[in-house]
């Protein structure tokens, strides 16, 4: 608990240690989260997601620079994938964030997904809570290079920025369900490349359609948020201030329309259900034991029973 006190009073190494403890879900992790939870709820949590190579890290670097120039403190959580085979990971997002070194108003933490799908690590939401409680006014969460299904960020962040780049696919790609539906702000990065205008136009068409279906974002028809489409050149910072204006406008919209509280409730309910699910599973597996699981796997493989019969039997033990 000393770690929490020190981390919240501005000791940066204590903060780093606390994040590790939370990430490893160690013995003190739950108790620490309970202590720091009342201090959370202050930060604007902003997700940055998009396909690999669209320039997420570079954009995060530029957004942070602009926020710092405005005097806003920034926590960054950058997630990269773990190898499903070795469990190792190469976390390379800091390479693009070297401009942020030496600034006490910035704290950057790289995270590996550790087997989690969905674009974030299982502990990412908790690490965001730590940075929130430590007083960072904005927490930027960069997801793994995401495709069409990694939409967990929308349940973690208040505002989700989806980064696209020219030449990543035609309008049919843009029409598929997935990332675009979770976008609160859409960015066409690498806007100096050929095809940027077409990409922006294709996105414009899709967003118009989505706007006709308010279900995806909640809210009522008359005050529905329409995701702006902004062009950036993250390498030299062009367009970064405009992205932050849109992010701030989205926050104001959420608060004015009551959607902020609504999203909080949805997020908390999802979290509660997920944790409950995981805890129940862990308890059941501890009670059943690995041996019995393997025995059922053998019987299912031998076509003696089907998987549902096995599950029923395991639940009844």
């Amino acid at each position: 608990m000393e770690l929490v006190t020190e981390a919240l009073s501005g000791n940066r190494y204590a903060l780093a240690r606390l994040i590790s403890c939370i990430e490893d879900d160690g013995t003190d992790a739950r108790a620490s989260l309970a202590v720091l939870y009342p201090h959370t709820g202050q930060a604007h949590v902003v997700g940055v997601t998009g396909a690999p190579g669209t320039g997420k890290s570079t954009l995060v670097n530029e957004l942070t620079k602009v926020l710092r120039a405005q005097g806003t403190t920034v926590g960054v959580v950058a997630v990269d994938p773990s190898s499903p085979f070795t469990g190792g990971a190469l976390l390379g997002d800091r390479v693009r964030m070297r401009d942020l070194a030496g600034d006490p108003g910035v704290f950057i933490r790289s995270m590996a997904t550790r087997g989690s799908l969905g674009g974030l690590a299982r502990a990412t939401a908790n690490v965001v809570k730590v940075l929130d409680a430590a007083g960072f006014a904005v927490v930027l969460v960069e997801t793994v290079g995401a495709g069409q299904a990694e939409v967990d960020i929308a349940r973690t962040a208040h505002t989700t920025v989806v980064v696209e780049a020219p030449g990543m696919g035609d309008e049919v790609q843009a029409l598929k369900a997935g990332l675009l539906e979770i976008a609160d702000v859409l960015v066409v990065n690498k806007a100096d490349r050929p095809g940027a205008a077409q990409t922006a136009r294709a996105l414009e068409m899709v967003i118009h359609r989505n706007a006709a279906h308010p279900s995806s974002h909640g809210g009522t028809d008359d005050n529905l948020w329409r995701p702006p489409i902004l062009k950036t050149i993250a390498l030299d910072g062009t367009g970064a201030p405009e992205v932050l204006e849109a992010v701030a406008a989205h926050r104001e919209y959420l608060q004015a329309s009551g959607t902020w509280a609504e999203r909080e409730r949805v997020r908390i309910e999802t979290e509660l259900r997920n944790v409950l699910q995981q805890e129940l599973l862990d308890r059941l597996l501890a009670r059943v034991g690995e041996g019995r699981i393997q025995a059922w796997v053998g019987r299912i493989a031998a076509r003696e029973v089907d998987v549902y019969t096995a599950v029923q039997a395991l639940l009844d033990t």
Partner: protein, 132 residues
């Protein structure tokens, strides 16, 4: 210590050859470690700050410029000042034999030259970090 080893791989100084650093980063990843790769032209201060924020268990420095006798002491001093004395430091690159005792005297845990076997480096680091 966390069950997953977290290793920061950094290239201090001004030479632009990061092939070796990337090879090591990849080898350590394949050995199941979480490697935080910082890229080129890092100052000792940047390396210490990254090691702190990332709660790294070890820092690997790749130096081909010949400036190791200046850069390595500054990283080790900086780690000490930041309260990170427990973070092991290892060095890769072109290190002349006569500099090895001095670097070890500074507390460098391991030094690896161009012919070093990546599997052995990974094993060495794991041993250093898991056996007291």
């Amino acid at each position: 210590m966390s069950e997953r080893l977290r290793i920061l791989i950094a290239k201090p100084g001004l030479d632009g050859h990061d092939r070796g650093a990337k090879v090591i980063a990849r080898a350590l990843r394949d050995a199941g470690m979480e490697v935080i790769y910082t890229g080129l032209r890092q100052t000792p201060e940047m390396i210490v700050e990254a090691a702190l924020q990332e709660d790294a268990d070890a820092v690997g420095l790749s130096i081909l410029s010949g400036a190791h006798m200046t850069l390595v002491p500054r990283v080790i001093e900086g780690l000490g000042e930041a309260g990170l004395d427990h973070v092991k430091v290892f060095v890769g690159g072109i290190i002349p034999d006569e500099d090895v005792p001095a670097l070890k005297g500074l507390g460098v845990a391991g030094i690896f030259g161009p012919g070093a076997n990546t599997q052995e480096i990974a094993d060495f680091i794991r041993r250093q970090l898991t056996e007291g």
